[in-house]
């Protein structure tokens, strides 16, 4: 019973210390919401923007403008000043400039996707319409794909990154502070159980996990309209395993550091490859294929893969398979290593 009481008391203290640091609360709860909100609203509208086209003066310019205006997706203006049109093209204010003639000349920057889109739209408008309705070469079928917006891809990644960041920072910093301020030594001259001490970090992490995930996911679902296609128990399991795994990793990374500065350096070093390689902001599939198996072994990649499989594809089996196994392995190994390596003195 004595053990249960000390684990409880240690956990309670961790929770109290955590909520009494306003700046920590900001980084854990407010920051990811702000980030999700900003990115969410910036990328909320899908689709391709209209192309901005200028028509230079010349024979048949008026008619050309009228033709182009009938085509969807084009914003057309008559620009009598050729110099201004050239400047607009260079600065990105215009996507394409048309000089009237037989045939008309299209001026654009072929490096910019917007230019290419504008060219195709203008060509479609200029295509001679055959009386009687000639069959088109192909028929376009529009499909409404929900869950294909950037924010839908991004959101599970943000959630994963938050689980990683909070787990590692909150634990790593707390440990380093206890060590630097010599509180750890004071605890060591009591009969406190060392495993109980380390376990209390994992437990206190779970208290915040529930709030953190609930707040972020509700925001994603209701405000950003991010799809959620998996089952809640599977989602809870993935979040739990992810959080505990990163808490273990945080303990491991800071098992031997003596100062807060040292902890900061080690934590950044450990998290850097994950920010870059784990597909938070863009898919890791953009890296050479050779690297994919390696990237999938990184804990944050595993967590993001599992979260995306659940939220975007509703694929519970994929989420609970390899990614979960990888997370469990990271958690168990790092917690075990932390117990062995931990610098008590």
């Amino acid at each position: 019973m004595a053990r249960a009481r000390e684990v409880l008391e240690l956990t309670r203290v961790r929770v109290l210390l955590f909520v009494r640091e306003p700046e920590v609360l900001f980084w854990v709860f407010a920051f990811p919401l702000v980030l999700a909100a900003v990115l969410g609203f910036a990328f909320r509208k899908g689709g391709v923007p209209s192309s901005r086209v200028a028509v230079l003066p010349g024979p048949g310019a008026e008619e050309l403008v009228a033709t182009l205006r009938r085509q969807g997706g084009l914003e057309v203006e008559l620009q009598p000043d050729e110099e201004l049109a050239a400047r607009g093209l260079r600065g990105g204010a215009l996507d394409l400039v048309v000089r009237p003639g037989e045939p008309p000349h299209l001026r654009l920057d072929p490096q910019r996707p917007e230019g290419e889109t504008a060219r195709l739209r203008v060509l479609a408008a200029l295509e001679p319409r055959v009386e009687g309705g000639r069959e088109s070469l192909a028929v376009t079928e529009p499909v409404q794909a929900s869950g294909s917006r950037y924010i839908d891809f991004l959101f599970p990644g943000l959630l994963g990154m938050n689980l990683m960041g909070t787990g590692m920072w909150s634990i790593g910093f707390a440990i380093a502070e206890l060590r630097q301020r010599k509180v750890l030594r004071r605890l060591l001259v009591t009969p406190m159980s060392r495993p109980a001490f380390l376990v209390s970090f994992l437990l206190s992490r779970l208290v915040f996990l529930v709030i953190e995930v609930a707040v972020l996911t509700s925001f994603g679902a209701w405000v950003l309209d991010v799809p959620f296609r998996g089952t809640w128990p599977a989602f809870a399991l993935v979040a739990l395993v992810g959080a505990v795994s990163f808490a273990g990793l945080g303990l491991f990374v800071t098992a031997r550091v003596r100062t807060i500065q040292g902890a900061s350096g080690m934590l950044n070093l450990a998290m850097m490859p994950m920010w870059l390689g784990s597909g938070v902001f863009f898919s890791y599939e953009r890296f050479p294929e050779l690297l994919h198996p390696l990237l999938r072994l990184i804990p944050l990649t595993a967590l993001n893969d599992a979260l995306r499989a659940l939220m975007l594809d509703g694929d519970v089996r994929a989420a609970l398979g390899a990614p979960l196994l990888i997370l469990v392995a990271w958690g168990a190994l790092s917690f075990g290593a932390a117990l062995k390596l931990f610098r008590w003195e």
Binding site: A2, R5, E6, L8, E9, L10, V13, L16, L17, R20, E21, R181, K182, V183, R185, R186, L187, L188, V189, T190, P191, M192, E345
Partner: protein, 318 residues
């Protein structure tokens, strides 16, 4: 398990090296049950290393330690249940309240004292809801004592418990320690305040450079100096300039009644066994050399004087 021979703490031949530096070089000490042992010495003398070995925080390179008849490495948990420790310069958790801190420490022990009892013991009832970072230095120190007393320890280890406190706060801490002793507790205390050592200790051990250089009751250690009084003076030349170098140690040592001579920042200190004879001869000598005496003082010897006589340094020196 060693026989429980009535010793709260027993250490034999403790040695601790840090690379080439020998921090503790063969220290023996004993704390009888129900008594207080003061471990004295300047900073860097090996006091903290010694007490941390006794507390089980550091492992000695050589030597044996028994605490209440128990040995570190065999009965760690049992020992920790029965000792209380106040470390030098520990910050407690700044954002916890007094009550939360005591509850946390209490949770580590099988049979902790009640919260009210500890608060009463260290006089922090009125501060029970205050955060640690809002406490004064003295209150923090008493909270640290409260954490050390929460398990009704039989032995209390205190590493410089009043360093940096004002006299009133210091007396407050002493009262808590007195109370602990009255109830039969044993104390091992390090300090570089002589007044503190003389006030609290039944016996003292003076260490310098990791070795014991004197030990016994404070009175016995002072008596061993063989001095009735300590005479301090600053001789000046006729022009008013300080001129302590105009009399050498050997001449002074030959004066009747003088036992020891030491110098300290322009002052000459004499440990004298016959104050009257020594003073007369001293003043005669100075007059002979054309020196004027300013600032002549005598006082009964203290532990500080013992230390200065043995090492030529003050306890408070770095």
């Amino acid at each position: 398990m060693a026989a429980d021979d009535g010793m709260a703490v027993r250490a034999r031949g403790l040695v601790k090296r840090y690379g080439a530096l020998v921090a503790v070089d063969g220290v023996d000490l004993e704390v009888e049950r129900g008594t207080c042992l003061g471990l004295l010495g300047p900073n860097g003398a090996g006091k903290t290393t010694t007490i941390e070995m006794l507390e089980g925080l550091k492992r000695p390179d050589l030597g044996q330690i028994t605490i209440l008849g128990l040995e570190w490495g065999r009965s760690d948990r049992l020992i920790r249940e029965r000792i209380g420790v106040q470390l030098q310069e520990t910050d407690l958790l700044a954002k916890l309240t007094v009550t939360e801190t005591l509850r946390l420490f209490g949770s580590f022990y099988r049979a902790p004292r009640g919260l009210a009892e500890v608060l009463d013991l260290v006089g922090l009832e009125e501060k029970r809801g205050a955060r640690v970072d809002a406490l004064s230095g003295g209150q923090k120190q008493r909270l640290a004592l409260g954490c050390a007393l929460v398990n009704r320890p039989e032995v209390l280890f205190l590493d410089e418990p009043t360093t940096g406190l004002d006299p009133q706060a210091r007396r407050h801490v002493w009262e808590v320690i007195d109370q602990f002793k009255e109830q039969g507790g044993s104390v091992l205390l390090t300090t570089h305040y002589m007044e503190e050592a003389e006030r609290l200790s039944d016996r003292v051990v003076i260490v310098d450079h990791g070795r014991v250089i004197a030990q016994g009751t404070p009175k016995a250690v002072i008596d061993a100096l063989g001095a009735e009084h300590i005479v301090e003076l600053r001789p000046h030349a006729a022009d008013g300039q300080p001129a302590p170098e105009l009399v050498d140690d050997d001449t002074l040592r030959l004066l009747p009644g003088v036992r020891e001579v030491s110098r300290d920042d322009g002052a000459i200190r004499l440990a004298v066994s016959d104050t009257q004879a020594a003073l007369g001869a001293l003043l005669g000598l100075l007059r002979e050399r054309g020196l004027v005496v300013e600032d002549l003082r005598t006082h009964r010897p203290t532990l500080e004087d013992v230390f200065v006589a043995l090492t030529g340094k003050h306890l408070r020196d770095g």
